[in-house]
């Protein structure tokens, strides 16, 4: 197991080098340092000297090969440098933003997954009855409503009608729950319909397997059949589909953070994209790919825990 994880981490190195190369190429394909300097300099019509000075400060005056070397080595050892736009050290902002972002994203992920599995088990238990039909109808309804409607609708309901409190912003510590509640509820709601329907299908696929008939023939009750025998087997496809949804989760929290004014990494990245802050974008893309690789490794470990036929070797 440990050897497997170590090997997977080593495999990640070439992937990350590839990511670094790609971000570098894409950056030079999309904008020249000259125009970047013009955009980021505060004066309206910068002189040539000011531009040269800016390029020198940010390291864009060196030959491309040196720039590339600095770019790759900087990323690999997590030396992200300063923001092109503000000159602020990037690490500081990432450290500040990681808390709120991690809080929202992990809450959306965990409550979303738990809720979807619970609902799926419930409708699977009542399969073929009106509870099942009604549940499926609700799922389709949830899936059919555009994300933004939840955001505006719930903000209006809680903020304007119920006067529940702040509908955007953030505060650290215990008070954070007030600001996090709404985005988490919306993040969960947005994925609930499709996930419940998908997981219900996985469960029903397993319910018709021979081993379920064996369990029933042993005298195992219907509830235990579903929660013990069926659920453990259905977790295998559930894990697969959940990992496939991780990029969507990251994207989703970018949007959520923006709507709710949460000072997380999502809003940091979107601001950086808008202001063509290359130094920040490359750092965020790099961190994003690391998160994704870690997610994949965790998935493999989860597989091995659920399915004894899977061996990590």
């Amino acid at each position: 197991m440990l050897r497997y994880v170590l090997r997977r981490i080593l495999y990640a190195v070439p992937i990350l080098v590839g990511v670094a190369l790609l971000t570098f190429v894409l950056f030079y394909a999309s904008a020249s340092p000259q125009s970047l300097a013009r955009r980021n300099l505060s004066t309206r019509n910068p002189t040539q000297e000011q531009i040269q000075q800016w390029l020198k400060d940010h390291g864009y005056d060196k030959p491309l090969s040196v720039q590339f070397k600095n770019h790759v080595t900087g990323l690999l050892v997590f030396r992200f440098g300063k923001s092109d736009a503000t000159g602020e050290p990037i690490w500081n902002r990432i450290k500040q933003g990681a808390g709120p972002s991690g809080l929202v994203a992990s809450l959306v992920f965990l409550t979303g997954l738990t809720a979807a599995i619970s609902f799926a088990v419930a409708v699977a238990y009542f399969r073929g009855t009106y509870v099942d039909y009604f549940g499926t109808f609700l799922c389709v309804l949830l899936m059919s409503i555009v994300f933004i409607v939840y955001v505006i609708g719930l903000q209006y309901l809680l903020g304007k009608i119920l006067k529940y409190g702040p509908i955007a912003g953030f505060q650290t510590g215990i008070a954070a729950w007030k600001f996090v509640l709404l985005p988490v509820v919306i993040g969960v709601l947005a994925g609930l319909g499709s996930e419940t329907r998908l997981f219900r299908t996985f469960l029903l696929d397993e319910i018709n397997q021979d081993y379920v008939r064996t369990a029933r023939a042993k005298g195992v009750g219907e509830r235990a059949v579903l929660l013990r025998h069926v659920l453990k087997n259905a977790l295998i496809p559930i894990i697969t589909s959940t990992v496939a949804a991780i990029p969507a989760l990251i994207l989703g929290s970018l949007v959520l953070e923006n709507f709710f004014g949460i000072p997380g990494l999502g809003s940091y990245l979107i601001d950086a994209i808008n202001s063509q802050d290359f130094a920040v974008v490359r750092a965020m893309v790099y961190l994003g790919s690391i998160l994704y690789i870690v997610g994949l490794i965790l998935t493999d470990i989860a597989y091995a825990l659920v399915d004894p036929r899977v061996r990590l070797e």
Partner: protein
């Protein structure tokens, strides 16, 4: 004393897109304590559904038990509540299935699945159950029971898994064992071992056994009685020796003629032409009539009686019914050598 299991006029139907499929249509039989009844027939004749119906494990919601009585020790299982029936399963009546490769849960250890069967009915506590699990695995012939308890199904061969299934089935010392084609998926050498094991355990525990099979060779070795099923009905029912000695129903005659025999060495084996019609389109009168070599006009018009007067055992055939005036002499040669072409409506429904 009533027999261990008495099934009367059992009917199990399925809703299908083509209408109602009468998979089991008026089946009656009984199993005595310590004795074996074999139900034989081709694929699709309803023998597995009969077995599943006894435990009320017919796939829902398409399948349902339309009527009949399943008397176990005099008590009708169809009158029990869901939870009472759950307590009968695996305790009084246990079942082993045809597919050892898929009948065990791949994500739980053998030990867990065996112990679960025992603790489920409250007869054993955890520690007792684990010890008994080890003993059972040794009894069914696993080399290293302690290790097998920790193994997962995919680590065992098909024969080993079927032994585990038998251990699970016998863990609560059931009074009746239903074995649905227990050896079909196994190698011939393993088949003999498994059958011998079931027979030994049956003697030890004085169980009744209901054996579902299409293999007549197995029937001769294991069963006191045979029921021959065709198209959802029993067409002949009686002591094994009598039926093997003199099969009466034309379908049973065909089945036994297809067995290799010393006297017919060198000749081609006889085959039964045609296949079982789909259960949504059983022929209206005698269900074997389209394939029957002895049929005449009445066979397509009047359903034959289950137990006609000229036979000392049930034979669902007009040849044994003195009330059918135009029946030919029983010893007569088959009337039509070649069965007629299959009914086009039956073909269309397929």
């Amino acid at each position: 004393m009533p027999p261990l299991l008495q099934v009367e006029n059992l009917r199990t139907y399925f809703h299908t897109p083509r209408g109602i499929a009468k998979a089991v249509d008026g089946v009656s039989f009984q199993v005595e304590q310590g004795k074996t009844l074999a139900i034989v027939g081709e694929s699709g004749c309803g023998k597995s559904i009969t077995a599943l119906s006894l435990l009320q494990l017919v796939p829902e919601p398409a399948g349902y038990i339309e009527g009949g009585r399943i008397l176990f020790e005099g008590r009708d299982l169809l009158d029990l509540t869901w939870d009472q029936m759950r307590r009968v399963r695996g305790d009084d009546i246990a079942m082993i299935f045809q597919e050892p490769m898929t009948s065990l849960n791949p994500t739980f250890t053998i030990g867990y699945q065996l112990v679960e069967a025992m603790t489920m009915h409250g007869k054993f506590t955890g520690a007792q159950a684990r010890q008994r699990a080890k003993d059972l695995l040794a009894r069914v012939g696993l080399q290293d029971p302690a290790q097998a308890l920790r193994q997962y199904p995919h680590e065992l061969s098909g024969g080993m898994r079927q032994r585990v299934m038998i251990a699970i089935a016998l863990s609560n010392e059931p009074k009746l064992l239903i074995a649905d084609e227990p050896t079909t998926a196994l190698d011939v050498t393993v088949q003999a071992q498994i059958l011998a094991l079931i027979r030994d355990l049956q003697r030890e525990q004085n169980m009744g056994v209901l054996l579902i099979t299409h293999d007549l060779g197995i029937v001769a070795e294991t069963s006191e009685e045979v029921a021959v099923m065709y198209a959802g009905q029993i067409v002949e029912y009686g002591p094994t020796s009598a039926i093997f000695h003199e099969p009466r129903h034309p379908y049973a005659r065909g089945l036994f003629a297809s067995l290799p025999a010393r006297g017919r060495r060198g000749q081609d084996l006889a085959t039964l032409e045609g296949i079982v019609p789909p259960p949504t389109a059983w022929p209206p009168a005698c269900r074997f009539e389209p394939r029957c070599a002895y049929r005449w006009d009445t066979c397509a018009q009047v359903p034959p009686k289950y137990h006609p007067a000229d036979s000392d055992r049930p034979v669902r055939c007009h040849l044994y019914d003195p009330e059918i005036a135009d029946r030919p002499a029983r010893g007569a040669a088959p009337i039509a050598k070649e069965p007629v072409a299959p009914d086009p409506t039956v073909e269309a429904a397929r």
